[in-house]
């Protein structure tokens, strides 16, 4: 089979659960050795897509080829070249970290020597050596996540799926996870990760696919998406309503948004700090009392607002998050 330059190629994927149409003709192509982020709000279909790509679900329509192997007809071959880290850390609570890794190695059908060697390497690499002989149920969320990712790397799979790898991690663990992921790409691994945060996609992915309600609504590099989403904004809050009124007059632009309740307003800002200083000076001159100021970069919400005209937080996001809590118990 002639090797195509794509490690992952999915065309026109449809998937329904009963009457609920979750994926409505999704296309995805990922170059070998690159990292692509699937970005979308709760319920967009990210996990469903990952499950299809990793042979856990059959698509109703459409085809997926992973390194030339069809995920339905040749699932076994696909399974020997992929690693999956699901949305919820799937480690065995009553096994130690080391035992978890060794079990995974054997289930990947590695030889005993390879299993032992790789387990030790990964414990080292993921900074779990100190806790290697403790039961996984005593691990913190971040350690569990790391162990979970380590487990899917035991067989050095050339293709890795990461479903929301940093959800629930504190900022430090998130940075550590980002490092690990970046390292994998440097070593030539092809990665598909899902996330709800543009920042994460921005930081890691070479290409971002935005999906919503089972369809691709945009694709591009982080910069391309951000430019679609609009510019940086600056927000001010004021001491009194009269300050807010004066400020509105001073700024008076198309992109002005006022929040009366918070006694605040925001306006798009493409000239960086210079523009902020200019505004603050004007406020000073007019004796407008400012109590707070902040800058914000476009968020996933903004990208969504722009692309779909509605908020990113999906209507069923509430149930989804309560689901999540249950599953993590």
């Amino acid at each position: 089979m002639a090797k195509s330059k794509y490690a992952i190629q999915a065309t026109n994927i449809h998937k329904s659960f009963g009457k609920l149409e979750v994926l409505k003709g999704l296309d995805l192509k990922i170059h070998r050795g690159t990292i692509v982020a699937l970005l979308g709000p709760n319920g967009a279909g990210k996990t469903t897509m990952v499950r299809i790509l990793s042979t856990l679900l059959r698509p109703d329509k459409g085809a997926v080829s992973i390194e030339g192997y069809d995920v339905v007809k040749d699932a076994h071959s696909v399974r020997s070249i992929i690693g999956l880290t699901g949305q919820y850390a799937a480690v065995d609570e009553y096994l130690t970290g080391r035992e978890n890794l060794r079990m995974m190695g054997r289930l990947y059908h590695l030889s005993k020597e390879d299993t032992l060697r790789r387990s030790e390497e990964l414990l080292e690499q993921f900074d779990i050596v100190g806790a290697a002989d403790r039961y996984a149920k005593t691990y913190s969320g971040g350690m569990r996540r790391r162990l979970d990712l380590a487990a899917s790397l035991i067989a050095t799979p050339p293709i890795i799926f990461l479903d929301e790898p940093t959800t629930g991690l504190d900022p430090r663990s998130r940075l550590a996870m980002w490092d690990i992921i970046q390292n994998l790409v440097t070593q030539g691994t092809t990665i598909l990760l899902t996330t709800q945060h543009l920042e994460e996609a921005d930081r890691l992915a070479e290409y971002i696919v935005v999906i919503d309600e089972g369809k691709v609504i945009a694709g591009g590099t982080a910069d391309e998406l951000k430019s679609k989403a609009g510019r940086e904004r600056v927000q001010f809050t004021f001491e009194r309503d009269s300050d807010l009124k004066k400020a509105e007059k001073i700024i008076d632009g198309k992109t002005l948004e006022v929040d009366k309740k918070l006694k605040g307003l925001s306006v798009s800002n493409d000239k960086g700090v210079a523009r902020v200083r200019q505004l603050l000076e004007k406020f000073e001159n007019e004796k407008v009392r400012v109590t707070g100021m902040s800058l914000s970069k476009p968020t996933l919400d903004d990208v969504f607002m722009k692309l779909t005209g509605r908020k990113a937080t999906h209507k069923d996001s509430h149930d989804e998050s309560s689901d999540k809590k249950e599953a993590q118990l």
Binding site: F17, R51, S54, T55, L56, L57, R58, A75, H76, R79, S80, I82, G83, L84, G86, Q87, Y88, A89, A90, D92, E93, Y94, L95, E99, M103, M104, R106, L107, Y108, H109, L110, S111, D114, R118, Y135, A151, S152, A155, T156, P158, Q187, G188, T189, A327
Partner: protein, 266 residues
């Protein structure tokens, strides 16, 4: 990064290896999850005491003392409840995403079911031994020889395996761990109580009695009772084995089928 490759071995080698790895995994639970191990025998011991000392005096058991009569019933009930840990294990693995993870590996993923059911066998052997010791303490006086004890263990294990596979199905079908606990309880409770476990079936109203006398649990109990304290064997031995094997085969096939369907096709 230096890539490692699966070791080339026969399919059978790896299938057996998968079974062994996952059996070892579930087996570890017996030791590490002491709560579970203790609760396996705690309830039967309570029942044993309750019936032996509280209700027993009011129950007529022709030919044998009540405690001798009771013991086979308690032993089988212990096995039946002990065989439902598979259900809890399977539901937990599905909920935790562990089954998903196994499904994404180049392994025989239904080995996870084998791991749990084989572990039930081991756990039930241990709890049977404990129950016999406790039974002896409260006056159970078996007359079985070594060969008969082996037969008792054999019948008990085939029965355990059958119920474990049946409970694997329940584990696959329920959505929550609490749910599956109820499901197995609602199943095991009536089939062990509406049997000859605690009272002779002759004392039951006729409809109940017809069920009690012909259902598999009674055959298993009567076969073990006959082997331990010499009540008439009749056809109970064969029927116990035939029923257990039939349930085992049907449940095994159904469980593996549901496992495959549930985790790929839908």
């Amino acid at each position: 990064m230096k890539r490692v490759k699966p070791e080339p071995r026969s399919k059978i080698y790896w299938a057996l290896s998968d079974f062994a790895v996952l059996t070892k995994r579930s087996m570890v639970y017996i030791v590490r999850n002491m709560d579970q191990a203790l609760s396996t025998v705690f309830m039967p011991i309570m029942f044993l005491m309750l019936f032996r000392y509280v209700f027993g005096g009011a129950i007529e058991t022709p030919g044998v003392s009540y405690v001798d009569f009771l013991f086979a019933g308690i032993l089988v009930q212990t096995a039946a409840f002990g065989a439902t840990y598979t259900a809890i294990g399977v539901t937990t693995d599905i909920r935790r995403g562990i089954v998903d993870r196994f499904k994404s590996l180049p392994m025989v993923s239904s080995a996870v079911l084998v791991g749990h059911t084989v572990t039930d066998l081991v756990r039930n052997t241990i709890s049977a031994v404990i129950m016999v010791l406790v039974g002896l303490l409260v006056g159970f006086r078996p007359e079985a020889n070594a060969f008969e004890w082996l037969l008792v263990l054999g019948i008990l294990m085939v029965f355990t395996f059958a119920i474990s596979w049946l409970s694997a199905i329940m584990g696959l079908l329920s959505k929550t761990v609490e749910g599956v606990q109820w499901m197995t309880f609602v199943f095991v409770f009536p089939v062990t109580f509406i049997s000859s476990a605690f009272v002779p079936t002759a004392s039951m109203p006729s409809a109940l009695r017809a069920f009690a006398e012909n259902q598999p649990v009674t055959h298993v109990i009567e076969a073990i009772r006959s082997l331990t304290v010499g009540t008439p064997m009749g056809s109970h031995g064969w029927l116990a084995l035939a029923w257990s094997l039939a349930i085992l085969i049907v449940s095994y096939l159904a469980a593996v089928y549901i496992f495959k369907r549930k985790t790929t096709a839908n």
